[in-house]
């Protein structure tokens, strides 16, 4: 288990504090926050006027208008609420692979960084680990002070179980009715098809961001010879004799898989970013996430 302090570098954390998470949708928050809400409220930003009716707060009457038009109008202001940020971290056994950085370590750091950005911006950040189902949970939390708890939580997560996006996301949607940003960090290697899982996120009209993490050995397998491949998750066996043509076919399959996921995400309004575990983590967070619009 990595120490909490090794998850993110303090200097890097300072740089993360400059960023904030961006949602393409405006959601209704639960409590007062720093995000503009659909609701009219009591912020300093003027929104609209309305005719005065009984019961309206007299403090919001626009006396200047009354003086000119002799009619009572009430000023409406934008409401600012908090943003819910859900980070769904894949902890299935397939995430253990990858050299020198495993997919899981990479995913965990990205998740920590996103959560940290959310905490710094007073967003309600929740981290959920999933494999065959939702496993560990970091309850929705606000405030930068919670960051150490978050890191402790992240550091304690272990990889285990078989991927089932359908079961995990279904439960997630049932548990979290509120809308917000959902960042899924996973390899999406679900034998039952990733579509069955992602469709649940679609139903809640969440702003979904899919970060697809594969290990280098999955993109360019270094295998040779006649192999009996054993699935790390379910022990399934695939007997493959590696040859140039097989390698080409495999790479075609990987590309096709990524393209398929990308197409699915685009079609359903999800953001998609593919990365390998060997891409420099800082670069991904500071540059690539900004490029795809998750941070600014």
């Amino acid at each position: 288990m990595p120490a909490a302090s090794t998850l993110l570098d303090p200097d890097f954390m300072n740089r993360l504090e400059q960023l904030s998470l961006v949602s393409r949708k405006v959601f209704t928050g639960k409590i007062k926050g720093e995000r503009r809400s659909k609701k009219r409220g009591v912020s300093v930003e003027f929104a609209d006027y309305k005719n005065y009716t009984h019961g309206d707060d007299l403090r919001f009457l626009d006396w200047n208008i009354y003086g000119r038009l002799d009619k009572l109008f009430v000023k409406l202001f934008m409401e600012e609420e908090d943003l819910r940020v859900y980070v769904l971290l894949d902890t299935s056994r397939s995430m253990m692979f990858g050299e020198p950085t495993s997919k899981f370590d990479f995913a965990r750091k990205v998740a920590a960084a996103i959560a940290y950005i959310g905490l710094c911006n007073l967003d309600r950040v929740s981290v959920r680990a999933f494999a065959g189902n939702l496993t560990d949970s970091f309850r929705p939390t606000r405030g930068k002070r919670q960051v150490w708890k978050l890191f402790d939580f992240m550091g304690a997560i272990q990889c285990d179980g078989t991927t089932s996006l359908r079961d995990a996301f279904k439960r997630f949607v049932l548990e979290n009715r509120g809308k917000g940003i959902v960042v899924v960090v996973s390899d999406f290697l679900d034998k039952e098809s990733f579509e069955d899982g992602l469709k649940y996120l679609l139903y809640n009209q969440m702003d979904v961001f899919c970060l697809h993490v594969l290990a280098d050995e999955e993109v360019n397998p270094p295998y040779v010879g006649d192999l009996k491949m054993v699935d790390a998750e379910d022990g399934d066996v695939a007997e493959v004799s590696i040859s140039a043509s097989v390698m080409k076919a495999y790479q075609r399959t990987v590309n096709s898989f990524c393209n398929h996921l990308n197409t699915y995400c685009t079609k359903n309004g999800f953001n998609y970013l593919f990365t390998t575990s060997n891409v420099p983590f800082e670069q991904l967070v500071l540059n690539y996430l900004r490029k795809v619009g998750l941070t600014k």
Partner: protein
């Protein structure tokens, strides 16, 4: 197709072994991967997209079985027999004798041999050399060592059947010298004999055992042939009855033989000057079942009025070699011969000279022969002058200058002749076999008690030779023709032998310039005709049976040797103002007429076995199989790399 190492076909047992190995499951290396999801997907894609999936399932096995089978065949060294040489120098000895005209192989044996030779020429590679020697009664180098295939091809195409007997000896000697020259230069060399084997024994030739010779027998053992193997015309001498000037009758003797395994019926047709005399049906028995020797059938035609002309005998029978079914002989008109004998008395000589009614003998004393012939060196009114034991007086200085002379036990007064000493019991060691004087003469039972050891002139021929020197010599120079016997007839048993009267008859014919008379004019095809024109003839014309002619100038030797007797028939010596002298050229050779191809012959102390492989080479093609196997290995590797199971 044959295998040089057929034992290696046993490697085929590895084929089921391979199948067994295939049945055993491949042990794969276990490997933990994040997920088999993508791998399964990839393998499924490959399977869906690959054609002939059923076949591909066992394609590798099939390919490996094929490779193994090809390699097994390759190590067994399969080969075809093809017309080819071993490279280097190839010397072809092609038989062109009469028997090669046999049609038991179509179109005939020579054409088959030529076709095989041409295939060998076609198989020549860059730098290979070929020499072509044709042989019949004589050998002839028709193509010297050449790398030019066109030249060799033209030479072979130009070969034609000659109506002569077969003689391999000369051809072998030429080939042996070429082989020796090639081996000195370290070149690979081989000699191939293409023949039906009708040649003489050559085992005595000085040829080494390792002589690179192979023999390709041409012909079928079932060839059909009957032949005339002897023909002779003999004068029917009637001593004491024939009046001078009366034409003698001739008897024609014919011998026919059947070389087939079954009895043959044939028709014998006698003709004189193209006029049919008689036709006889003859039955020719098959060869003796015990000895396998053909049984001769003799026929004699004895008719009055056979005086002069060309006798032709045809043996009509459908067989594979018509050349030997015909023979000619010549009956020629003889003229009277006047001979002057200068002798003290010689019983044996006189008795024999008087046998022939055409010979008119005149006697004189040795001391007075000048009176009869003159001192000019001529023969006077006589055709021949015979000196028996005459000692020529050196004071008189008589020398023969023109005419025919017979010196019997005396030193001829011709420059070059000189007596060295007298020798006792000389042993006869040789005689000139093809000289007209020795025809039908056998000296084997002749003993000589005393003889003169002679020095002989440059222009003389030795007819009979003893260990001490010549016993009988001839001298032909300018207008002089002389015969000298250098021993006394009384000092030998010769007059008591049959050979003596025969020799005297031959001598009279030769000395009178009529040596080519009667049956004496028969020559075997391919042999030289020794034409001796008269003294006053300076030019002769030889007319061949096909009508073509050739002119010859008679030189001082007064001999014309005509060698172009490669066609059977009557050859004529034409001289201006004189009747033609006819020579009959016949095959008459049982060995040549026996068409059964010889299977083997002795040479260099070993047996040369005839074989069709002699003009063939083992063309191995194992390396083609190896190339195919390599190709299939590559294919197998490619398939293996593309396989998806």
């Amino acid at each position: 197709m044959q295998f040089l190492s057929a034992a290696y076909l046993g490697f085929a047992a590895s084929l089921p072994l391979l199948v067994l190995l295939y049945i055993l499951k491949l042990k794969r290396k276990e490997f933990l991967v994040p997920s088999t999801y993508l791998w399964h997907k990839c393998v499924e894609d490959l399977r869906v997209n690959s054609p002939f999936q059923r076949l591909r399932k066992n394609l590798l096995l099939l390919l490996q079985l094929l490779i193994l089978a090809l390699l097994t065949f390759a190590v067994a060294r399969p080969m075809f027999k093809v017309r080819d040489t071993k490279g280097g120098i190839t010397i072809l000895l092609v038989d062109c004798s009469a028997s090669m005209g046999a049609t038991d192989m179509r179109p005939n044996r020579l054409e088959v041999a030529k076709a095989a030779s041409l295939e060998l020429v076609d198989a020549m590679k860059e730098g290979d050399q070929m020499m072509v020697i044709s042989f019949a009664s004589k050998a002839s180098t028709v193509c010297v060592l050449t790398t030019d295939r066109g030249q060799a091809r033209d030479a072979i195409k130009g070969l034609r059947v000659l109506d002569t007997r077969t003689g391999l000896r000369e051809a072998l000697l030429i080939a042996a010298s070429a082989v020796a020259a090639a081996q000195e230069q370290g070149k690979k060399c081989e000699v191939k004999v293409l023949s039906d084997g009708g040649f003489e024994e050559v085992s005595s030739l000085p040829i080494k055992k390792d002589f690179p010779l192979s023999y390709f027998p041409v012909g079928n053992a079932s060839a059909r042939n009957v032949a005339i193997t002897a023909l002779e015309a003999r004068k029917n001498l009637k001593v004491g009855e024939a009046a001078p000037g009366e034409e003698p009758d001739y008897q024609i003797f014919v011998r026919a033989q059947n070389f087939m395994k079954e009895e043959a019926k044939a028709r014998l047709i006698f003709s004189l000057n193209d006029r049919q005399l008689e036709v006889r049906d003859v039955t020719l028995p098959p060869p003796d079942p015990d000895t396998h020797a053909p049984q001769p059938v003799s026929q004699v035609l004895d008719r009055k009025g056979l005086a002069s002309g060309i006798v032709r005998v045809d043996l009509e029978c459908a067989d594979d070699l018509p050349t030997d079914n015909v023979a000619w002989t010549v009956l020629q008109k003889e003229r009277d011969v006047k001979i002057l004998v200068a002798t003290e008395g010689n019983f044996f000589l006189e008795k024999v000279l008087n046998l022939d009614p055409r010979v008119h003998v005149f006697k004189t004393k040795p001391a007075t022969f000048y009176d009869d012939v003159g001192k000019g060196g001529g023969t006077g009114e006589y055709d021949i002058v015979c000196f028996d034991g005459v000692k020529f007086d050196p004071k008189v200085q008589w020398k023969p200058t023109e005419g025919s002379f017979w010196f019997l036990h005396c030193v001829p007064p011709i420059e070059g002749y000189a007596e060295k000493q007298e020798v006792q019991h000389p042993t006869i060691v040789a005689s000139a076999p093809d000289h007209p004087l020795t025809r039908y003469v056998n000296f084997h039972n002749v003993d000589v008690a005393k003889a003169s050891q002679m020095e002989i002139p440059k222009y003389s021929d030795t007819i009979l030779e003893a260990d001490s020197g010549p016993l009988i010599t001839t001298y032909v120079r300018g207008k002089v023709r002389a015969l000298a016997v250098h021993f006394d007839l009384y000092q030998s048993n010769w007059p008591l032998r049959y050979s003596f009267p025969m020799f005297v008859t031959n001598a009279l014919q030769w000395l009178s310039g009529a040596s080519a008379q009667a049956s004496g004019a028969q020559v075997s095809a391919g042999d030289v005709i020794r034409m001796v024109p008269e003294r006053d003839v300076n030019e002769i014309e030889v007319i061949r049976p096909d009508g073509t002619s050739q002119k010859f100038t008679v030189d001082e030797d007064r001999k014309v040797l005509y060698a172009g007797t490669d066609k059977l028939g009557a050859y004529r010596m034409r001289r201006a103002g004189k009747p033609d002298v006819v020579y009959a050229v016949n095959l008459l050779d049982p060995q040549e007429s026996n068409l059964t191809p010889r299977e083997t012959f002795e040479l260099g102390g070993g047996a040369i076995l005839g074989s069709a492989d002699a003009v063939a080479t083992n063309k191995e093609f194992w390396w083609w199989l190896a190339v195919f196997a390599f190709g299939f290995v590559c294919l197998e590797w490619w398939v293996y790399n593309r396989r998806a199971w």
